[in-house]
Subunit: 139 residues, 4 copies
């Protein structure tokens, strides 16, 4: 059951760890490393996007059908500066239709301040996920 | 002059290479590696976002003032499947105001097919970029 | 105090009524009329956007500084069909910075089903709103 | 053939006129009226959205299948001030897949300045449009 996440080598290489998962929901964290900072020493927007994207993908794939992202919108609300040690992301399902589903993700820091809001939509394929593609049990 | 990009350790770790840069424009490529694929063997949405985000950031920082992303929207138009060897991204400035600027990024594959469209907005700070923070000369 | 809304002739012409307002928040309703439906007999996306946009603008202008929209993203989650009599929109402030602020708007129908989610960002000008431009007391 | 647009009573009530239409494309204009301005005397964001949304919907419905908007993103690039007499919008198809299609819309003013950029996605239903629901011949 951990295979989906194991197979998400991109998220893994960025240092993201899945914490919780349930139907239509997921939560993860990213311990901040030096290579997460950009040239002006705040956490890279693309690193924050990658964290949000992972919980979005896991949440969307909890129903058994293969779900692929069709678009996403992210607003950066507060810069995550040099003191940041961990960022957390939590995805919530806001709509689940036959072919489309929508998720909101909130990214927060150690102090529980809101860092970014993410809105993503998936297209739900007819294909069932293989056991090795299922979202993992966190841990 | 290559320091800005050198300092973008996140983009560098993902294997992105800057190809061209001019006022309000930038072009980069990402040679596809195994860790760019997701569990269903298409190039990871967050890897595509990271590529688009890099040219967006470089283009926005070509004017000398520090520019920080405030939000971004990406639409995935065509899946980049297993045969994909390289993705390219090109950013164009669509508006440059005193405090805000907007960019459109097109991501294409080896066959020049459109893979994703990205729309990003930056807030332009009063601070000038330090020499070590300037966008690099590509190459 | 009702002048801001009175002066929003566009929202008024669409039949939107402001219900509540507080610092960083606003709630409004739109009683559905025949001209709100599109060619396929669901409530027009642009009418839903206009409702969401009004509470976004009112909420953003509750702080006294003139706030102008810089971008917005809307996801349509459920079609509002022929039986729909009223749609409601509620804006919540998710970030308030010196120059920028962000708002989330939820649009719901009579049955409290979520119809659309809207994410909007404003640029906050130095100019103070004139008394005649202030958001109105609802009613 | 003009029925689709005739049936778009919302766009019609806003004063939008369709100018051109072809497979995957559409162009329209909106002559600016007093009720298009907001409390701070620039053209209302929701009026601009409505104009962009109309060409998006017409372009998406040129293929015969009923297409419904699933989400849209708009960036306001330049304020359309009091001197504005007409705004134009042009939609271009950037992707057409089996179930989803994406469109970019540019909104320009009399001086051909870019006022807004809009990115929209539709879900393409199996249902064919009835003759009375087809996009109109412009004119």
């Amino acid at each position: 059951m951990k295979e989906f996440f194991k197979n998400d080598r991109f998220a893994a290489s960025v240092g993201i760890e899945l914490l919780e998962m349930a139907k239509g929901r997921a939560r993860a964290k990213m311990d901040i490393r030096k290579d997460h900072f950009n040239a002006v020493n705040i956490v890279h927007g693309a690193a924050i996007f990658t964290l949000a994207d992972l919980v979005f993908a896991v949440a969307a794939n909890t129903h058994g059908n293969m779900a692929v992202a069709v678009n996403a919108h992210i607003s950066y609300l507060k810069a995550a500066g040099e003191g940041t040690r961990t960022l957390f992301a939590e995805a919530t399902e806001v709509a689940l239709n036959f072919k489309l589903a929508s998720y909101t993700v909130q990214v927060t820091d150690d102090r529980d301040d809101l860092i970014a809001i993410f809105q993503g939509m998936v297209y739900r394929k007819r294909d069932k996920l293989m056991p090795t593609q299922l979202p993992p049990t966190p841990g």
